[in-house]
């Protein structure tokens, strides 16, 4: 259900919301309706570009406390209208889009740092804080969460929690779900709950993990306690070019299975080395560019670095040295400014997926084959940027330089590329996504990914949100 735009019921909805958060924190401005109608997903960008009308929120609210969030949830439940949580709105999957109108709950005024526990090394913060602001404040105290994604300045802590985000230092410090100690969340009926205070226990399933990655469909996360780390004494990088991707993958795998603890490994395929590494870093090389880094105490870093160098040098290679690794670190966010990022009129998508070492190269090649054979108008590039003890993440991308002008044709082509690539990836043991989430973009493929297990997720959704008001239509859950 949605309150019709011209109904006087909207006046009652507005009055009730304003009573909770104050009129200055409720907006029905056309400017905000436009600004909240588009996130970082290509389809709504295309719709804006082509001048087509996009779904908009009916009202945007800016709560400042969990109690206010609770009251807003109760109002939404009473009217049975959609409530979509919006952090930074910089997600690429359409997860924060108010596709059925209703209330957008912007969390950015839930932005306080509540406690830095220097004994246990944890920080407790409200989830609307922009991640870079949290990190800068921690750095003043000599600490960091070490969650450093390219969207660190755009996205909120809650956004990362909602779609299980990751940062460039994940190989040592983990994804956001590895950093979380505990959560506070508001359920669809307004109940405020807290998960257990530590993540390692034998007191039942981990409720924090239930909310992580739920993309606002199970409730609104309002507070989180995260692990923090002392700022490292040194952070050192080194870069190599290997003759081909296969060799680079094997070198990276060796770094991990020998149980070294690099904070970062990034391996770019031949196409990305030729294109992006040259354009952004000015490194003009053929082959597969690999950069890795270690951080921590100087002597430990030196020791691990020497072992990593020995591993890499045991393969055919060109040693680019530390400076060209440091360059990558210094310019790691430059890739995402408009002059370097893909943008309309191009169509582009990030097919980020994850698999074991046994499967990941097959996943890469399967998607590459799909693009090259089925979509000759598209290019395929990729890099491997988050490494685990058992495998790694593939950040593959397709780019269509000249998609159809007609929005419908362009969107249909776009979705066909996604479906074909991700089905090929899943056949080889890859997942739908590694750190951007599912959102609107990939919901239709969730049942294929999970099989019968998806019913478990659907049942949880029905139990926790019986009116289906929390971000309906995302993650493959029932639309309205």
């Amino acid at each position: 259900m949605r309150v019709p735009t011209d109904s006087y019921l909207n006046e009652f909805l507005y009055t009730e919301l304003a009573d909770v958060v104050g009129p200055e924190n409720v907006s029905t401005s056309q400017a905000d309706k436009i600004a909240y109608s588009c996130d970082y997903y290509w389809i709504p960008e295309l719709w804006i570009d082509r001048g087509r009308p996009s779904p908009e929120p009916d009202v945007v609210v800016h709560p400042r406390t969990a109690e206010e969030v609770s009251q807003i949830c109760r109002i939404a439940a009473n009217y049975k209208i959609p409530l979509t949580t919006w952090g930074g709105g910089s997600g690429s999957q359409g997860g924060a889009l108010p596709i059925h109108g209703g209330i957008v709950l912007d969390t950015k005024k839930l932005n306080r740092i509540l406690e830095i526990d220097k004994t246990s090394l944890t920080v407790t913060a409200e989830t609307g804080i922009i991640m870079q602001h949290l990190e800068w404040e921690l750095e003043r105290e000599g600490f960091g969460t070490m969650h450093e994604p390219a969207s660190i300045g755009c996205a909120t802590l809650g956004g990362f929690l909602a779609h299980r985000g990751t940062g460039v230092l994940s190989t040592k410090y983990g994804k956001i779900e590895d950093m979380v100690m505990a959560l506070e969340a508001v359920l669809a009926d307004g109940t405020i709950i807290n998960t257990l205070p530590v993540p390692r226990h034998a007191s039942g399933p981990d409720l924090s993990q239930l909310f992580l990655g739920s993309e606002g469909t199970f409730g609104v996360m309002t507070k989180a306690t995260l692990k923090i780390h002392p700022l490292p004494e040194v952070r050192r990088f080194h870069a190599f070019v290997f003759p081909d991707l296969h060799t680079g993958l094997e070198a990276g795998r060796q770094l991990m299975v020998r149980r070294l603890r690099p904070s970062v490994i990034r391996l770019y395929d031949e196409a990305e080395t030729r294109r992006l590494i040259r354009r952004v870093l000015g490194i003009d090389k053929e082959g597969a560019y690999l950069v890795f880094g270690f951080d921590g105490d100087r002597d430990l870093v030196d020791l691990e670095l020497s072992k990593a160098l020995a591993i890499c040098r045991s393969f055919p290679h060109e040693d680019l040295g530390p400076d060209l690794g440091q360059d990558w670190w210094d310019h790691r966010y430059d890739f995402f400014f408009p002059n370097h990022m893909f943008h309309l009129p191009q169509a582009f998508g990030t097919l980020d997926t994850v698999a074991t070492f046994a499967n990941i190269e097959n996943v890469y090649r399967a998607m590459k084959q799909v693009v090259e054979e089925q979509f000759p108008m598209a290019r395929y590039i990729g890099h491997f940027s988050h490494w685990y003890e058992w495998g790694c993440m593939l950040y593959a991308r397709f780019i269509i330089d000249d998609p159809p002008q007609d929005a419908h044709e362009a969107a249909q082509l776009y979705n066909r590329v996604w479906d074909a690539c991700l089905r090929a990836a899943m056949q080889q043991g890859g997942l739908l996504n590694e750190h951007h989430g599912i959102g609107l973009k990939l919901g239709r493929l969730m049942r294929e990914l999970y099989g019968p297990a998806y019913t478990v997720l659907e049942n949880i959704k029905r139990a926790i949100d019986p009116n289906n008001i929390m971000n309906p239509g995302k993650m493959g859950f029932q639309s309205r």
Partner: protein, 371 residues
């Protein structure tokens, strides 16, 4: 439409979030329409004819303080403030500016200041007719905010000019530079006002034009040349540059001060636009006993109270109050005893919201007190 000259910025910003965390109004206001991306989306729709300048969109386009942090941060050379200024000029051309904006314009045209205060009261707090001379080597342009709201800054500057035995004058018919008008979208009126003021300045035949107001400084340095308005070759200096020069020449010698920690707040025009970063710090370094504690957000990344043109706080007092509170909080983290600015608008905004123990001073006040 003038915004069509800014198509590349609009098309880049509409889908880019990379400066969200530094956008002053965005961080304080929290609305997606506050940040350059939101402005880009709105302007793209207008540019393509998919939306008109409705009152809601107009309000959003006046909800930017033009601090310039977005373009400082941008690695793609986008210039959101220029696109927003073009939009405001388009809005004015269509007669769609908000009533509050029009009221400021009327005040400026009728009284020469944005507050609507009587022109004859402009220099009331500064003393008698000996401030005015027909010809002088130095013209001190006081500016509206200093004259009407922070006259102690002008008093301090006059003391410095006196101590340096400068051959100086104020302009008896001083009015706004016109910059607030141009920032609000009234380009024609701004030009007329600028031409009138330029004629006043030329009439004194000075060698040097000095001001304590960064917005006026930028008007003389950037806007007037861009409009082809001739200042007859006069050198333009902000007071920070002028006093730095006087100290270097030995023309003024500040006395030793009691030990204190000072922190300096850079600004949009003096800092980000004209890179006058070292002069204020050199001046403060000339006081034995005064230690400078830098804010994390300093120099080109300095936080802003939204001082450009002195108009944002007139339109959005609540927002600018919170912006000032953030600056004060940041300054207090340095452990400083005194927060020093070189901008009368900023000083007033800080004074209004100061709940810290920080003393607040303009740079020239600090210098004058040590003479």
């Amino acid at each position: 439409m003038l915004i069509s000259e800014h198509t590349s910025t609009i098309e880049a910003c509409r889908f880019c979030f990379m400066c969200r965390h530094v956008c002053t109004v965005g961080v304080i206001g929290g609305r997606e329409s506050d940040i350059p991306r939101g402005k880009g989306l709105i302007l793209f729709k207008v540019l393509k004819g998919h939306a008109d300048y409705s009152p809601d969109l107009v309000d959003a386009l006046y909800r930017c303080c033009l601090c310039g942090l977005c373009e400082t941060w941008c690695k793609a050379d986008c210039r959101p403030p220029d696109a927003i200024l073009a939009a405001r000029a388009d809005i004015v051309a269509q007669g769609k500016e908000p009533v509050a904006v029009r009221r400021i314009k009327d005040h400026l045209l009728q009284t020469g200041n944005p507050f609507g205060l009587p022109a004859e009261e402009r220099f009331q707090a500064l003393g008698g007719p000996d401030l005015f001379r027909g010809q002088a080597e130095v013209v001190y342009y006081v500016g509206c905010d200093t004259a009407y709201r922070q006259p102690q800054i002008a008093t301090a500057m006059l003391k410095i000019l006196g101590a340096a035995n400068a051959d100086f004058t104020l302009l008896p018919n001083e009015r706004s530079t016109g910059k607030p008008l141009s920032l609000l979208g009234y380009r024609d009126e701004a030009r007329t006002m600028a031409e009138q003021l330029a004629a006043e300045i030329r009439g004194v035949r000075p060698k040097l034009l000095v001001t304590t107001c960064p917005s006026a400084f930028d008007a003389f340095k950037t806007d007037y040349p861009a409009m082809g308005i001739d200042l007859a070759g006069v050198e333009v200096l902000h007071a920070a540059q002028y006093v730095d020069r006087l100290i270097e020449q030995g023309a003024v010698v500040p006395r030793k001060q009691p030990a204190a920690i000072a922190t300096f707040l850079d600004g949009t025009y003096l800092g980000r636009t004209h890179a006058v970063y070292d002069e204020p710090r050199r001046i403060l370094g000339a006081f034995a006993g005064l230690t400078l504690g830098e804010m994390v957000w300093a120099r080109e990344l300095a936080y802003s109270c939204g001082e450009p043109g002195g108009v944002f706080h007139l339109l959005h007092p609540e927002l600018s109050g919170r912006m000032a509170a953030r600056v004060l909080e940041e300054a207090a983290k340095t452990g400083a005893d005194v927060l020093i600015t070189a901008c009368p608008t900023t000083l007033e905004l800080l004074q209004k919201g100061n709940h810290t123990k920080l003393k607040l001073r303009d740079l020239v006040e600090v210098v004058a007190a040590a003479l």
